[in-house]
């Protein structure tokens, strides 16, 4: 009996010894040298693996950061200045100042403003609807309302508003990773520079058609009338392809264009209410209960 136990112990110990020796040599032979700083950098990064930096994941981005001569063009939108600052400190480099951004939907075509002319009945996927036809309305540029962007968002920063049938972006949660911008087949989501108090003024329309047909399709479309361009004292607004665009670098948030716009397609968000008259843009105000 005791002999059996002894043999077992000895044989198992021998086995363990041999295996460990083999393992040790294999580990030595196939050792891959990795910069230990990669691990350290990765530990600082948010580990969201969202791809907002342009790399496949945080690990790849960390490798790129360690390898990079300068941080030019490298930015983690999720972590922002704090994360990039601490990475820069660790690697002894300087992080360029990158403005924080936020995603903005360039369409305001709720059923109220943009009447539905047909009912889409296929698979619930914007890409399929976009490939198939003009969409449920007569606007071939606007939102299709099938929530590809919401599904693409890894940060729960978007939801569909059932009344307007448009996606809503929650500014506080949006990290500007750009997943929604990529997901949208109609390219109507833009990353815009974040302003103080999350204020925003932008042209909420993507319709490149001329005024007449655009107006027939949607009441709150940009008709490229040029009134906002004239009203703007800072040359921040340009019109291209029948569509006005407000440059965030030049805009001073004076809100003159908002009052000028005849179709109310220029939208102001997070401003204190105006004294004299109340405008009609109530529907885009951030009404999300989660905020």
């Amino acid at each position: 009996m005791s002999l059996t136990v002894l043999i077992t112990i000895i044989s198992l110990s021998l086995l363990a010894l041999i295996s460990s020796v083999i393992l040790y040599f294999i580990a030595q032979k196939f050792k891959v040298f990795e910069d230990p700083r990669i691990d350290e950098v990765q530990a600082i990064l948010p580990a969201a693996n969202c791809g907002g930096c342009g790399f496949a994941g945080c690990r790849n981005f960390a490798e790129a950061l360690v390898k990079a001569e300068t941080f030019e063009g490298l930015n983690c939108p999720v972590g922002g200045a704090t994360v990039m600052g601490s990475v820069a400190k660790l690697l002894g480099k300087e992080a360029p100042v990158v403005d924080p951004m936020v995603a903005v939907l360039l369409c305001n075509g709720s059923p109220e403003f943009r009447p539905r002319t047909s009912k889409y009945n296929g698979a619930s996927d914007c890409r399929i609807s976009h490939n198939l036809y003009i969409g449920e309305t007569d606007c071939s540029y606007g939102c299709l309302g099938l929530a590809d962007c919401v599904r693409a968002c890894a940060f729960d920063a978007m939801y569909m508003n059932s009344e307007t049938e448009l996606p809503v972006i929650i500014d506080d949660k949006c990290v500007a990773c750009g997943a929604c911008v990529k997901a949208c087949p109609r390219k109507i989501i833009e990353l815009r520079k974040k302003a103080k108090k999350d204020r925003k003024i932008y042209v909420s329309c993507s319709n490149c058609e001329k005024g007449g047909p655009a107006r027939r399709a949607c009441k709150v479309t940009c008709i490229a009338c040029g009134k906002c361009v004239k009203a703007c004292e800072f040359d921040a607004i340009t019109i291209e392809n029948n569509l006005a665009y407000i440059d965030t670098n030049k805009c001073t948030f004076c809100r003159k264009c908002v009052t000028e716009c005849p179709t109310s397609c220029i939208i102001e968000v997070n401003f204190p209410p105006r004294k004299p008259r109340i405008e009609v843009q109530a529907e885009v105000v951030n009404d999300n209960p989660n905020v």
């Binding site: 002319t117 009912k119 009945n121 296929g122 198939l132």
Partner: protein, 333 residues
């Protein structure tokens, strides 16, 4: 235009076939076997089937309602089929609480933990059955002798299945020619007049169900035919080698759960391969494993184990065995 039209990608027609219709088609195909087992086993068959079906439906409902918190889909008939198949795999005198435990394993563990219908890798009814066979071996292997409604439920006269008789006899060194008097004749077996699981005894009723499934195009012939065919060929070889030690192919097909397994259990959509080529490989695998377990294994019956083992290979087969595409090889004629 006042009338808002629907727009969708093509096709704009649908064949009107639904999951529900398919599942209820299987239920209809199971009815002949259910009626014959009621005929043979009386009240026991009714009690076992009812308990199994109700508990399967109840577990599916409770899990979908309170754990998944998603729309309840028990009306699609899949739990009903699982319940009936589970009952068909049980002796007709099994205590009710064991059936409920088995249903729980079938639905909650084998089906719902994987996400419900369409995601389970193993046939739920068989997982339940094998669980019961291992946990309650005595109750699961005491088979009432068919005696119609005179068969009591709890106090039924029990006997061994033909397969168990052969297995036991061969182990004791008897030869087949000595055992032949103890086992039922092929015609008795065809009509189902023997001990065994509730639904597996009556070959003719199962074949009627098979015909119905084929006519309604619910299943294709590939899996059942390849299982039965491979069992026949394999046992024929063994029988020719030594007729004293190995039973003839006819016996192997009619005794035990081969027909029930081949027609109803192995053809379960979710757990069987999807293209004809892999279906045949899958069927042959089940057939060969069944015979191996029956002839050399510890259990007299091996269909359940064989199907579960082959279930495990299905994802692999779906990934690597591909049908020959149209236009893949040029063959001009």
């Amino acid at each position: 235009m006042s009338n808002i039209l629907n727009v969708s990608p093509s096709p704009h027609a649908h064949g009107k076939e639904t999951t529900k219709k398919l599942m209820f088609g299987v239920v209809v195909a199971l009815l002949p076997a259910l009626f014959t087992s009621i005929f043979y086993f009386g009240y026991g068959a009714i009690i076992v089937t009812t308990t199994s079906v109700i508990s399967c439906l109840a577990f599916e409902y409770l899990i979908q309602k309170f754990i998944f918190r998603k729309p309840v889909t028990i009306t699609d008939g899949s739990a009903l089929v699982t319940g009936m198949l589970l009952a068909f795999n049980l002796p007709s005198n099994i205590p009710v609480f064991i059936i409920i435990v088995g249903s729980f394993v079938s639905i909650a563990i084998a089906k719902m933990t994987f996400g419900g219908l369409g995601n389970n890798p193993f046939n739920p009814a068989l997982v339940g059955r094998v669980f019961m066979l291992i946990s309650f071996p005595v109750q699961m292997t005491s088979w009432p002798v068919p005696a119609g409604f005179s068969t009591g439920y709890a106090d039924a006269v029990t006997g061994a299945t033909p397969l168990a008789i052969i297995k036991e006899g061969l182990k004791n060194g008897e030869s087949l020619s000595q055992l032949v008097t103890q086992i039922p004749t092929p015609s008795q077996m065809f009509l189902g007049n023997m001990g065994g699981s509730m639904g597996e005894v009556a070959a003719f009723a199962l074949l009627i169900g098979f015909a119905y499934l084929l006519i309604k195009k619910i299943i294709t012939w590939h899996i059942p035919v390849s299982i039965i065919g491979s069992i026949m060929i394999f046992t024929l070889i063994l029988w020719l080698l030594n007729p004293e030690k190995n039973a003839d192919p006819m016996f192997h097909i009619l005794a035990g759960g081969v027909l029930l397994g081949a027609i109803f259990m192995a053809t379960d959509y979710v757990t069987s391969p999807m293209n004809p080529k892999s279906m045949i490989i899958y069927g042959c695998g089940i057939g060969i494993l069944t015979v191996i377990i029956r002839v050399w294994g510890a259990y007299p019956e091996g269909v359940s184990f064989a199907i579960l083992i082959m279930n495990a290979f299905v994802p692999l087969m779906n990934a690597y065995i591909k049908p020959k595409r149209f236009g893949e090889e040029v063959k001009n004629g």
